[in-house]
Amino acid sequence: MRRVVGQTARQLPLLVMAFVILVPLYFMVVNSLKTNDAFLDSSLGLPSRPSLRAYGDAASDRNLGQLFWNSVVIAVTSVAVTTGFGALAAFALAKMVFRGRELFFRLMLPLMVIPPIVLLVPQFKLMSSAGLVNHRASVIIIYIGLMLPFTIYLLRNFFVSFPDELLDAAALDGCSPMTSFLRVVLPISRPALITAVIVNFVFAWNELLIALVFLQSEGSRTLVVGLTVFRSRFSLDVPVLMAGLTIATVPVLLVYLFGQRYLVRGLLAGSVK
Protein backbone atom coordinates (compact mmCIF):
# COMPACT_ATOMS: atom_id res chain seq x y z
CA MET A 1 0.00 0.00 0.00
CA ARG A 2 2.72 2.43 1.01
CA ARG A 3 4.59 1.64 -2.18
CA VAL A 4 1.54 2.39 -4.30
CA VAL A 5 1.11 5.73 -2.57
CA GLY A 6 4.82 6.46 -3.04
CA GLN A 7 4.65 5.60 -6.76
CA THR A 8 1.67 7.89 -7.29
CA ALA A 9 3.30 10.69 -5.35
CA ARG A 10 6.29 10.43 -7.67
CA GLN A 11 4.30 10.21 -10.90
CA LEU A 12 2.21 13.25 -10.03
CA PRO A 13 4.86 15.99 -10.50
CA LEU A 14 5.91 14.47 -13.83
CA LEU A 15 2.32 14.16 -15.05
CA VAL A 16 1.69 17.80 -14.16
CA MET A 17 4.90 18.74 -15.95
CA ALA A 18 3.91 16.82 -19.08
CA PHE A 19 0.46 18.44 -19.07
CA VAL A 20 1.82 21.97 -18.60
CA ILE A 21 4.38 21.51 -21.37
CA LEU A 22 2.08 19.84 -23.87
CA VAL A 23 -1.07 21.98 -23.61
CA PRO A 24 0.41 25.10 -25.30
CA LEU A 25 1.94 22.90 -28.02
CA TYR A 26 -1.37 21.09 -28.49
CA PHE A 27 -3.02 24.52 -28.76
CA MET A 28 -0.61 25.52 -31.55
CA VAL A 29 -0.87 22.33 -33.60
CA VAL A 30 -4.58 21.61 -33.17
CA ASN A 31 -5.64 25.12 -34.09
CA SER A 32 -3.41 25.13 -37.15
CA LEU A 33 -5.62 22.31 -38.47
CA LYS A 34 -8.90 24.21 -38.05
CA THR A 35 -10.86 26.70 -40.06
CA ASN A 36 -11.07 30.13 -38.51
CA ASP A 37 -14.76 29.57 -37.65
CA ALA A 38 -13.94 26.31 -35.90
CA PHE A 39 -11.19 28.10 -33.94
CA LEU A 40 -13.56 30.87 -32.83
CA ASP A 41 -16.08 28.20 -31.87
CA SER A 42 -13.66 26.37 -29.58
CA SER A 43 -9.91 26.81 -29.28
CA LEU A 44 -9.41 23.63 -27.28
CA GLY A 45 -11.45 20.92 -29.04
CA LEU A 46 -10.21 18.66 -31.80
CA PRO A 47 -11.15 19.85 -35.28
CA SER A 48 -14.29 18.08 -36.52
CA ARG A 49 -12.87 18.17 -40.04
CA PRO A 50 -9.06 18.65 -39.91
CA SER A 51 -7.78 20.60 -42.87
CA LEU A 52 -4.39 21.73 -44.11
CA ARG A 53 -5.90 24.91 -45.50
CA ALA A 54 -4.05 27.09 -43.00
CA TYR A 55 -0.70 25.54 -44.05
CA GLY A 56 -1.55 26.20 -47.69
CA ASP A 57 -2.36 29.82 -46.89
CA ALA A 58 0.75 30.25 -44.77
CA ALA A 59 3.02 28.65 -47.37
CA SER A 60 1.55 30.62 -50.26
CA ASP A 61 2.19 33.86 -48.42
CA ARG A 62 4.69 35.51 -50.73
CA ASN A 63 7.38 35.80 -48.06
CA LEU A 64 7.38 32.62 -46.09
CA GLY A 65 9.65 30.64 -48.44
CA GLN A 66 12.21 33.45 -48.52
CA LEU A 67 12.09 33.84 -44.72
CA PHE A 68 12.59 30.11 -44.24
CA TRP A 69 15.54 30.07 -46.64
CA ASN A 70 17.18 33.06 -44.91
CA SER A 71 16.90 31.28 -41.57
CA VAL A 72 18.39 28.08 -42.99
CA VAL A 73 21.37 29.89 -44.56
CA ILE A 74 22.08 31.92 -41.41
CA ALA A 75 21.71 29.05 -38.95
CA VAL A 76 23.64 26.46 -40.97
CA THR A 77 26.52 28.77 -41.93
CA SER A 78 27.00 30.28 -38.49
CA VAL A 79 26.80 26.92 -36.70
CA ALA A 80 29.23 25.25 -39.13
CA VAL A 81 31.82 28.03 -38.86
CA THR A 82 31.45 28.23 -35.08
CA THR A 83 31.99 24.49 -34.70
CA GLY A 84 35.13 24.62 -36.87
CA PHE A 85 36.72 27.73 -35.31
CA GLY A 86 35.64 26.64 -31.82
CA ALA A 87 37.05 23.11 -32.13
CA LEU A 88 40.40 24.41 -33.42
CA ALA A 89 40.74 26.87 -30.55
CA ALA A 90 39.54 24.32 -27.99
CA PHE A 91 42.09 21.77 -29.21
CA ALA A 92 44.93 24.26 -28.77
CA LEU A 93 43.66 25.21 -25.30
CA ALA A 94 43.31 21.59 -24.22
CA LYS A 95 46.39 19.93 -25.70
CA MET A 96 49.08 22.53 -26.39
CA VAL A 97 51.28 24.48 -24.02
CA PHE A 98 51.79 28.17 -24.72
CA ARG A 99 51.80 31.58 -23.08
CA GLY A 100 48.37 33.11 -22.50
CA ARG A 101 46.55 29.79 -22.54
CA GLU A 102 44.95 30.21 -19.12
CA LEU A 103 44.06 33.84 -19.77
CA PHE A 104 42.35 33.03 -23.06
CA PHE A 105 40.32 30.21 -21.55
CA ARG A 106 39.34 32.26 -18.49
CA LEU A 107 38.02 35.02 -20.74
CA MET A 108 35.35 32.71 -22.20
CA LEU A 109 33.09 32.81 -19.13
CA PRO A 110 32.78 36.62 -18.88
CA LEU A 111 32.19 36.76 -22.65
CA MET A 112 29.27 34.35 -22.24
CA VAL A 113 27.50 36.69 -19.84
CA ILE A 114 27.84 39.95 -21.76
CA PRO A 115 24.28 41.00 -22.60
CA PRO A 116 24.04 41.04 -26.42
CA ILE A 117 21.98 44.25 -26.46
CA VAL A 118 24.87 46.15 -24.88
CA LEU A 119 27.06 45.68 -27.96
CA LEU A 120 24.34 46.35 -30.50
CA VAL A 121 24.95 50.05 -31.23
CA PRO A 122 28.72 49.75 -31.77
CA GLN A 123 28.21 46.56 -33.79
CA PHE A 124 25.63 48.33 -35.91
CA LYS A 125 28.02 51.21 -36.64
CA LEU A 126 30.76 48.74 -37.51
CA MET A 127 28.53 46.72 -39.85
CA SER A 128 27.10 49.76 -41.56
CA SER A 129 30.57 51.16 -42.25
CA ALA A 130 31.38 47.76 -43.79
CA GLY A 131 28.17 47.98 -45.83
CA LEU A 132 26.81 44.76 -44.35
CA VAL A 133 23.53 45.96 -42.83
CA ASN A 134 20.61 44.11 -44.45
CA HIS A 135 23.02 41.40 -45.56
CA ARG A 136 22.86 37.99 -43.94
CA ALA A 137 26.64 38.15 -43.41
CA SER A 138 26.28 40.75 -40.64
CA VAL A 139 24.05 38.49 -38.55
CA ILE A 140 26.16 35.42 -39.33
CA ILE A 141 29.35 37.12 -38.07
CA ILE A 142 27.69 38.29 -34.85
CA TYR A 143 26.13 34.89 -34.17
CA ILE A 144 29.51 33.21 -34.61
CA GLY A 145 31.01 35.61 -32.08
CA LEU A 146 28.21 35.06 -29.58
CA MET A 147 28.31 31.27 -29.92
CA LEU A 148 32.11 30.86 -29.78
CA PRO A 149 32.73 31.34 -26.03
CA PHE A 150 30.26 28.61 -25.04
CA THR A 151 31.50 26.31 -27.81
CA ILE A 152 35.16 26.75 -26.90
CA TYR A 153 34.38 26.24 -23.20
CA LEU A 154 32.37 23.05 -23.81
CA LEU A 155 34.78 21.49 -26.32
CA ARG A 156 37.94 22.38 -24.40
CA ASN A 157 36.54 20.66 -21.30
CA PHE A 158 35.75 17.60 -23.42
CA PHE A 159 39.14 17.51 -25.19
CA VAL A 160 41.07 17.85 -21.91
CA SER A 161 40.00 14.37 -20.84
CA PHE A 162 41.20 12.93 -24.15
CA PRO A 163 44.08 10.49 -23.45
CA ASP A 164 47.48 11.90 -24.42
CA GLU A 165 48.73 8.38 -25.26
CA LEU A 166 46.49 8.31 -28.35
CA LEU A 167 47.97 11.59 -29.55
CA ASP A 168 51.47 10.29 -28.92
CA ALA A 169 50.74 7.15 -30.88
CA ALA A 170 49.37 9.23 -33.75
CA ALA A 171 52.48 11.43 -33.67
CA LEU A 172 54.74 8.36 -33.72
CA ASP A 173 52.85 7.20 -36.79
CA GLY A 174 53.88 10.44 -38.43
CA CYS A 175 50.60 12.31 -38.08
CA SER A 176 50.89 16.09 -37.94
CA PRO A 177 48.93 17.72 -35.10
CA MET A 178 46.32 18.81 -37.64
CA THR A 179 45.92 15.29 -38.95
CA SER A 180 45.55 13.76 -35.52
CA PHE A 181 43.07 16.51 -34.62
CA LEU A 182 40.95 15.73 -37.68
CA ARG A 183 41.35 11.94 -37.74
CA VAL A 184 41.64 11.03 -34.05
CA VAL A 185 40.19 13.73 -31.79
CA LEU A 186 37.13 14.88 -33.72
CA PRO A 187 35.60 11.45 -34.45
CA ILE A 188 35.79 10.47 -30.76
CA SER A 189 34.30 13.79 -29.65
CA ARG A 190 30.96 13.29 -31.31
CA PRO A 191 28.77 13.73 -28.20
CA ALA A 192 30.36 17.09 -27.37
CA LEU A 193 30.30 18.28 -30.99
CA ILE A 194 26.65 17.30 -31.39
CA THR A 195 25.75 19.00 -28.11
CA ALA A 196 27.43 22.19 -29.30
CA VAL A 197 25.64 21.95 -32.66
CA ILE A 198 22.21 21.46 -31.03
CA VAL A 199 22.59 24.30 -28.54
CA ASN A 200 24.01 26.63 -31.18
CA PHE A 201 21.48 25.74 -33.87
CA VAL A 202 18.62 26.35 -31.45
CA PHE A 203 20.14 29.73 -30.60
CA ALA A 204 20.79 30.80 -34.20
CA TRP A 205 17.42 29.61 -35.53
CA ASN A 206 15.48 31.29 -32.72
CA GLU A 207 17.39 34.54 -32.24
CA LEU A 208 15.24 37.67 -32.51
CA LEU A 209 16.98 40.83 -31.30
CA ILE A 210 20.03 40.90 -33.57
CA ALA A 211 18.10 39.71 -36.62
CA LEU A 212 15.49 42.40 -35.93
CA VAL A 213 18.05 45.20 -35.85
CA PHE A 214 20.38 44.13 -38.66
CA LEU A 215 17.94 42.67 -41.20
CA GLN A 216 15.36 45.33 -41.82
CA SER A 217 14.70 44.83 -45.52
CA GLU A 218 11.90 42.41 -46.30
CA GLY A 219 14.07 40.13 -48.42
CA SER A 220 16.71 39.54 -45.74
CA ARG A 221 14.51 38.86 -42.68
CA THR A 222 14.63 35.58 -40.80
CA LEU A 223 11.61 33.40 -40.13
CA VAL A 224 11.44 34.31 -36.44
CA VAL A 225 11.47 38.05 -37.20
CA GLY A 226 8.95 37.46 -39.98
CA LEU A 227 6.60 35.76 -37.53
CA THR A 228 6.25 38.94 -35.50
CA VAL A 229 5.13 40.69 -38.71
CA PHE A 230 3.07 37.68 -39.79
CA ARG A 231 1.29 37.87 -36.46
CA SER A 232 -0.21 41.29 -37.06
CA ARG A 233 -1.11 40.38 -40.64
CA PHE A 234 -2.97 37.22 -39.63
CA SER A 235 -4.36 38.34 -36.28
CA LEU A 236 -7.86 37.75 -37.67
CA ASP A 237 -7.04 34.30 -39.03
CA VAL A 238 -5.40 32.56 -36.09
CA PRO A 239 -5.13 29.09 -37.73
CA VAL A 240 -2.80 30.54 -40.41
CA LEU A 241 -0.68 32.14 -37.69
CA MET A 242 -0.53 28.84 -35.79
CA ALA A 243 0.48 27.06 -39.00
CA GLY A 244 3.31 29.58 -39.41
CA LEU A 245 4.46 28.95 -35.84
CA THR A 246 4.40 25.20 -36.42
CA ILE A 247 6.46 25.55 -39.62
CA ALA A 248 9.02 27.62 -37.70
CA THR A 249 9.19 25.03 -34.93
CA VAL A 250 9.66 21.83 -36.94
CA PRO A 251 13.37 22.34 -37.88
CA VAL A 252 14.59 22.94 -34.29
CA LEU A 253 12.44 20.10 -33.03
CA LEU A 254 13.98 17.75 -35.59
CA VAL A 255 17.52 18.82 -34.69
CA TYR A 256 16.72 18.26 -31.02
CA LEU A 257 15.08 14.86 -31.51
CA PHE A 258 17.96 13.72 -33.71
CA GLY A 259 20.60 14.72 -31.16
CA GLN A 260 18.89 14.35 -27.81
CA ARG A 261 20.58 11.08 -26.88
CA TYR A 262 23.94 12.86 -27.05
CA LEU A 263 22.77 15.90 -25.14
CA VAL A 264 23.05 14.61 -21.58
CA ARG A 265 26.44 13.03 -22.24
CA GLY A 266 27.78 16.12 -23.98
CA LEU A 267 26.64 18.51 -21.28
CA LEU A 268 28.03 16.19 -18.63
CA ALA A 269 31.48 16.33 -20.16
CA GLY A 270 31.42 20.01 -20.96
CA SER A 271 29.82 21.80 -18.05
CA VAL A 272 30.99 19.69 -15.14
CA LYS A 273 34.59 20.44 -14.52
Partner: protein, 308 residues
Protein backbone atom coordinates in the same frame (compact mmCIF):
# COMPACT_ATOMS: atom_id res chain seq x y z
CA UNK B 1 55.22 16.19 -42.40
CA UNK B 2 55.86 16.81 -38.72
CA UNK B 3 58.75 15.02 -37.04
CA UNK B 4 57.50 12.36 -34.64
CA UNK B 5 57.70 13.21 -30.97
CA UNK B 6 60.42 11.01 -29.56
CA UNK B 7 60.95 12.63 -26.21
CA UNK B 8 57.45 12.28 -24.81
CA UNK B 9 57.68 12.03 -21.04
CA UNK B 10 54.65 10.72 -19.24
CA UNK B 11 52.89 13.14 -16.93
CA UNK B 12 53.86 16.36 -18.67
CA UNK B 13 51.19 18.31 -20.57
CA UNK B 14 51.20 17.20 -24.17
CA UNK B 15 52.94 19.45 -26.60
CA UNK B 16 51.25 18.52 -29.80
CA UNK B 17 53.79 19.14 -32.51
CA UNK B 18 56.68 19.75 -30.14
CA UNK B 19 60.03 19.28 -31.73
CA UNK B 20 59.14 21.25 -34.78
CA UNK B 21 60.26 24.81 -35.26
CA UNK B 22 56.68 25.93 -35.93
CA UNK B 23 55.54 24.58 -32.56
CA UNK B 24 55.75 27.96 -30.84
CA UNK B 25 53.51 29.61 -33.39
CA UNK B 26 51.11 26.70 -33.94
CA UNK B 27 48.77 27.22 -30.94
CA UNK B 28 48.30 30.85 -31.94
CA UNK B 29 47.44 29.81 -35.48
CA UNK B 30 44.76 27.50 -34.07
CA UNK B 31 43.37 30.34 -31.97
CA UNK B 32 43.54 32.98 -34.69
CA UNK B 33 40.20 32.45 -36.50
CA UNK B 34 38.21 32.48 -33.25
CA UNK B 35 40.18 35.44 -31.92
CA UNK B 36 39.53 37.57 -34.98
CA UNK B 37 35.77 37.04 -34.71
CA UNK B 38 35.78 37.67 -30.96
CA UNK B 39 37.64 40.96 -31.42
CA UNK B 40 35.14 42.12 -34.05
CA UNK B 41 32.06 41.05 -32.09
CA UNK B 42 33.16 41.80 -28.50
CA UNK B 43 36.50 43.59 -28.27
CA UNK B 44 35.98 46.63 -30.48
CA UNK B 45 32.29 47.14 -29.52
CA UNK B 46 33.07 47.10 -25.78
CA UNK B 47 35.77 49.77 -26.18
CA UNK B 48 33.51 51.84 -28.41
CA UNK B 49 30.68 51.47 -25.88
CA UNK B 50 32.82 52.84 -23.05
CA UNK B 51 33.80 55.86 -25.15
CA UNK B 52 30.19 56.53 -26.23
CA UNK B 53 28.93 56.36 -22.65
CA UNK B 54 31.11 59.28 -21.56
CA UNK B 55 30.59 61.30 -24.74
CA UNK B 56 28.07 64.09 -24.26
CA UNK B 57 26.68 65.60 -27.46
CA UNK B 58 26.46 69.41 -27.20
CA UNK B 59 23.74 71.64 -28.58
CA UNK B 60 25.83 73.23 -31.31
CA UNK B 61 27.40 70.02 -32.53
CA UNK B 62 30.52 70.17 -30.36
CA UNK B 63 30.89 67.20 -28.02
CA UNK B 64 32.13 67.04 -24.47
CA UNK B 65 33.12 64.25 -22.16
CA UNK B 66 31.90 63.45 -18.70
CA UNK B 67 29.41 61.58 -16.61
CA UNK B 68 26.31 63.59 -17.63
CA UNK B 69 24.79 60.59 -19.47
CA UNK B 70 24.94 58.53 -16.30
CA UNK B 71 23.37 61.34 -14.27
CA UNK B 72 20.43 61.67 -16.61
CA UNK B 73 19.72 57.93 -16.91
CA UNK B 74 19.92 57.33 -13.17
CA UNK B 75 17.19 59.93 -12.66
CA UNK B 76 14.98 58.25 -15.25
CA UNK B 77 11.94 56.65 -13.52
CA UNK B 78 11.47 54.25 -16.47
CA UNK B 79 14.94 52.81 -15.92
CA UNK B 80 14.22 52.37 -12.22
CA UNK B 81 11.01 50.53 -12.98
CA UNK B 82 12.85 48.39 -15.52
CA UNK B 83 15.52 47.44 -12.99
CA UNK B 84 12.80 46.63 -10.46
CA UNK B 85 11.22 44.30 -13.03
CA UNK B 86 14.55 42.55 -13.56
CA UNK B 87 14.69 42.07 -9.77
CA UNK B 88 11.19 40.58 -9.83
CA UNK B 89 12.36 38.14 -12.49
CA UNK B 90 15.22 37.12 -10.16
CA UNK B 91 12.53 35.59 -7.95
CA UNK B 92 11.91 33.03 -10.71
CA UNK B 93 15.39 31.56 -10.19
CA UNK B 94 14.79 29.80 -6.84
CA UNK B 95 11.48 28.47 -8.18
CA UNK B 96 13.08 27.10 -11.35
CA UNK B 97 15.94 25.58 -9.38
CA UNK B 98 13.72 23.73 -6.92
CA UNK B 99 11.40 22.44 -9.66
CA UNK B 100 14.33 21.37 -11.86
CA UNK B 101 16.11 19.53 -9.02
CA UNK B 102 12.90 17.72 -8.10
CA UNK B 103 12.12 16.67 -11.68
CA UNK B 104 15.72 15.62 -12.39
CA UNK B 105 15.83 13.49 -9.23
CA UNK B 106 12.59 11.73 -10.17
CA UNK B 107 13.79 11.12 -13.72
CA UNK B 108 17.11 9.82 -12.45
CA UNK B 109 15.26 7.21 -10.38
CA UNK B 110 14.06 5.74 -13.69
CA UNK B 111 10.45 6.26 -12.68
CA UNK B 112 7.89 4.57 -14.98
CA UNK B 113 7.67 6.54 -18.24
CA UNK B 114 10.99 8.37 -17.69
CA UNK B 115 12.00 8.11 -21.33
CA UNK B 116 8.88 9.94 -22.43
CA UNK B 117 9.15 12.57 -19.69
CA UNK B 118 12.83 13.11 -20.36
CA UNK B 119 12.36 13.80 -24.05
CA UNK B 120 9.57 16.34 -23.57
CA UNK B 121 11.09 18.22 -20.64
CA UNK B 122 13.61 19.99 -22.90
CA UNK B 123 11.15 20.78 -25.71
CA UNK B 124 10.06 24.24 -24.43
CA UNK B 125 13.72 25.28 -24.30
CA UNK B 126 14.27 24.60 -28.02
CA UNK B 127 11.25 26.63 -29.16
CA UNK B 128 11.77 30.17 -30.43
CA UNK B 129 10.78 32.79 -27.86
CA UNK B 130 8.50 34.55 -30.40
CA UNK B 131 6.73 31.22 -30.99
CA UNK B 132 6.29 30.72 -27.24
CA UNK B 133 5.31 34.36 -26.75
CA UNK B 134 2.66 34.30 -29.48
CA UNK B 135 1.11 31.02 -28.26
CA UNK B 136 0.95 32.32 -24.69
CA UNK B 137 -0.52 35.63 -25.85
CA UNK B 138 -3.49 33.62 -27.12
CA UNK B 139 -3.59 31.44 -24.01
CA UNK B 140 -3.43 34.38 -21.59
CA UNK B 141 -5.51 37.05 -23.32
CA UNK B 142 -8.82 38.16 -21.82
CA UNK B 143 -10.91 35.68 -23.80
CA UNK B 144 -8.07 33.22 -24.15
CA UNK B 145 -7.74 29.55 -23.38
CA UNK B 146 -6.85 29.98 -19.69
CA UNK B 147 -9.80 32.18 -18.83
CA UNK B 148 -12.18 30.02 -20.87
CA UNK B 149 -11.01 26.94 -18.97
CA UNK B 150 -11.27 28.66 -15.58
CA UNK B 151 -14.80 29.76 -16.49
CA UNK B 152 -15.77 26.26 -17.58
CA UNK B 153 -14.50 24.86 -14.28
CA UNK B 154 -16.62 27.36 -12.37
CA UNK B 155 -13.56 29.24 -11.12
CA UNK B 156 -14.74 32.65 -12.30
CA UNK B 157 -13.09 34.59 -9.43
CA UNK B 158 -9.72 33.48 -10.82
CA UNK B 159 -10.40 34.97 -14.26
CA UNK B 160 -8.06 37.92 -14.87
CA UNK B 161 -6.74 39.93 -17.75
CA UNK B 162 -3.33 38.31 -17.42
CA UNK B 163 -1.45 40.43 -19.95
CA UNK B 164 -3.70 43.50 -19.91
CA UNK B 165 -3.36 44.42 -16.25
CA UNK B 166 -0.38 46.50 -15.25
CA UNK B 167 -0.18 44.66 -11.93
CA UNK B 168 -0.24 41.17 -13.41
CA UNK B 169 1.51 41.44 -16.79
CA UNK B 170 5.12 41.17 -15.55
CA UNK B 171 4.18 38.10 -13.50
CA UNK B 172 2.60 36.48 -16.56
CA UNK B 173 5.88 37.03 -18.41
CA UNK B 174 7.61 35.55 -15.36
CA UNK B 175 5.57 32.35 -15.60
CA UNK B 176 6.29 31.98 -19.32
CA UNK B 177 10.04 32.35 -18.70
CA UNK B 178 9.89 29.63 -16.04
CA UNK B 179 7.87 27.44 -18.42
CA UNK B 180 10.52 27.72 -21.10
CA UNK B 181 13.74 27.60 -19.08
CA UNK B 182 13.14 25.01 -16.39
CA UNK B 183 13.95 22.15 -18.80
CA UNK B 184 17.52 23.37 -19.26
CA UNK B 185 18.06 22.99 -15.52
CA UNK B 186 16.54 19.51 -15.56
CA UNK B 187 18.92 18.32 -18.30
CA UNK B 188 21.96 19.89 -16.60
CA UNK B 189 21.10 18.23 -13.28
CA UNK B 190 20.36 14.90 -14.97
CA UNK B 191 23.76 15.02 -16.63
CA UNK B 192 25.39 15.56 -13.25
CA UNK B 193 23.35 12.81 -11.58
CA UNK B 194 24.43 10.31 -14.22
CA UNK B 195 27.93 10.53 -12.73
CA UNK B 196 26.59 9.72 -9.25
CA UNK B 197 27.98 6.44 -7.92
CA UNK B 198 24.96 4.06 -7.73
CA UNK B 199 26.70 2.29 -4.83
CA UNK B 200 26.08 5.34 -2.64
CA UNK B 201 22.32 5.16 -3.22
CA UNK B 202 22.33 1.40 -2.61
CA UNK B 203 24.27 1.84 0.62
CA UNK B 204 21.69 4.39 1.76
CA UNK B 205 18.92 1.96 0.83
CA UNK B 206 20.56 -0.79 2.87
CA UNK B 207 20.65 1.64 5.79
CA UNK B 208 16.88 1.98 5.27
CA UNK B 209 17.29 5.70 4.70
CA UNK B 210 14.02 7.16 3.40
CA UNK B 211 13.71 9.05 0.13
CA UNK B 212 14.15 12.40 1.79
CA UNK B 213 17.29 11.41 3.66
CA UNK B 214 18.83 9.87 0.53
CA UNK B 215 18.01 13.07 -1.32
CA UNK B 216 19.35 15.31 1.42
CA UNK B 217 22.59 13.47 2.12
CA UNK B 218 23.53 11.87 -1.20
CA UNK B 219 21.82 13.54 -4.15
CA UNK B 220 21.89 17.18 -3.07
CA UNK B 221 25.60 17.38 -2.15
CA UNK B 222 26.44 15.77 -5.47
CA UNK B 223 24.37 18.38 -7.33
CA UNK B 224 25.68 21.39 -5.38
CA UNK B 225 28.28 22.69 -7.89
CA UNK B 226 25.86 22.45 -10.80
CA UNK B 227 23.10 24.14 -8.82
CA UNK B 228 25.51 27.01 -8.23
CA UNK B 229 26.29 27.14 -11.97
CA UNK B 230 22.60 27.07 -12.93
CA UNK B 231 21.62 29.76 -10.39
CA UNK B 232 24.35 32.11 -11.63
CA UNK B 233 23.49 31.50 -15.27
CA UNK B 234 19.77 32.03 -14.62
CA UNK B 235 20.29 35.24 -12.65
CA UNK B 236 22.37 36.60 -15.51
CA UNK B 237 19.65 35.51 -17.96
CA UNK B 238 17.01 37.38 -15.96
CA UNK B 239 19.15 40.49 -16.09
CA UNK B 240 20.29 40.44 -19.67
CA UNK B 241 18.43 37.91 -21.86
CA UNK B 242 14.72 38.66 -21.32
CA UNK B 243 14.22 41.28 -24.05
CA UNK B 244 12.61 38.80 -26.45
CA UNK B 245 9.86 37.73 -24.05
CA UNK B 246 8.83 41.28 -23.23
CA UNK B 247 9.13 42.50 -26.82
CA UNK B 248 6.85 39.76 -28.14
CA UNK B 249 4.33 39.43 -25.31
CA UNK B 250 3.73 42.96 -24.02
CA UNK B 251 6.02 45.38 -25.88
CA UNK B 252 6.68 46.94 -22.45
CA UNK B 253 3.01 47.68 -21.77
CA UNK B 254 0.40 48.03 -20.42
CA UNK B 255 1.27 51.53 -19.19
CA UNK B 256 5.01 50.74 -19.39
CA UNK B 257 4.60 48.28 -16.53
CA UNK B 258 6.72 45.51 -18.10
CA UNK B 259 9.81 47.47 -19.15
CA UNK B 260 13.09 45.68 -18.52
CA UNK B 261 16.58 47.19 -18.76
CA UNK B 262 17.25 45.76 -22.22
CA UNK B 263 14.04 47.31 -23.57
CA UNK B 264 15.11 50.72 -22.23
CA UNK B 265 18.42 50.41 -24.11
CA UNK B 266 16.69 49.22 -27.29
CA UNK B 267 14.23 52.10 -27.31
CA UNK B 268 16.78 54.77 -26.48
CA UNK B 269 19.12 53.52 -29.19
CA UNK B 270 16.77 52.60 -32.01
CA UNK B 271 13.56 54.55 -31.40
CA UNK B 272 14.57 57.75 -29.61
CA UNK B 273 17.96 58.17 -31.31
CA UNK B 274 19.85 58.70 -28.06
CA UNK B 275 22.82 56.34 -28.48
CA UNK B 276 24.89 57.99 -25.74
CA UNK B 277 22.19 57.50 -23.12
CA UNK B 278 21.74 53.92 -24.37
CA UNK B 279 25.49 53.44 -23.95
CA UNK B 280 25.33 54.69 -20.36
CA UNK B 281 22.53 52.25 -19.48
CA UNK B 282 24.50 49.51 -21.26
CA UNK B 283 27.54 50.17 -19.10
CA UNK B 284 25.34 49.97 -15.98
CA UNK B 285 23.94 46.63 -17.19
CA UNK B 286 27.43 45.36 -17.96
CA UNK B 287 28.63 46.32 -14.47
CA UNK B 288 25.67 44.54 -12.85
CA UNK B 289 26.36 41.36 -14.86
CA UNK B 290 30.03 41.52 -13.84
CA UNK B 291 29.06 41.94 -10.19
CA UNK B 292 26.88 38.81 -10.40
CA UNK B 293 29.67 36.82 -12.01
CA UNK B 294 32.29 37.91 -9.46
CA UNK B 295 29.90 37.22 -6.60
CA UNK B 296 29.64 33.68 -7.91
CA UNK B 297 33.39 33.16 -8.09
CA UNK B 298 33.74 34.60 -4.56
CA UNK B 299 31.17 32.12 -3.25
CA UNK B 300 32.94 29.32 -5.09
CA UNK B 301 36.33 30.21 -3.63
CA UNK B 302 34.89 30.32 -0.12
CA UNK B 303 33.26 26.89 -0.60
CA UNK B 304 36.52 25.47 -1.89
CA UNK B 305 38.44 26.88 1.06
CA UNK B 306 35.94 25.42 3.50
CA UNK B 307 36.24 22.03 1.84
CA UNK B 308 40.01 21.91 1.88
Amino acid sequence: MAAPVVTATAGTPRRAGAGRSGAVVRPYLYLAPATIVLVVVFGYPVLRLLVESVTVPGILGETGHGLDNFRSVIDDPILRRALLNNLRLFLAVPVMTVVAVLLATLLHERIAGWRFYQSIVFVPYVLAIPVVGIIFSYVLQRHGLLNQSLGALGLDPLVHDWLGSSQLAIWSVWVVIVWQQVGFGVVLFLARLSSLDPGLIEAAMVDRAGWWRRFRHVVLPHLAPIIEFFVTLSLINMLSWVFNYVYVMTGGGPARSTYVTELVIYQQAFRDGLPNLAAAVSVILLVLATVLLSAQSLVRRRIERMES
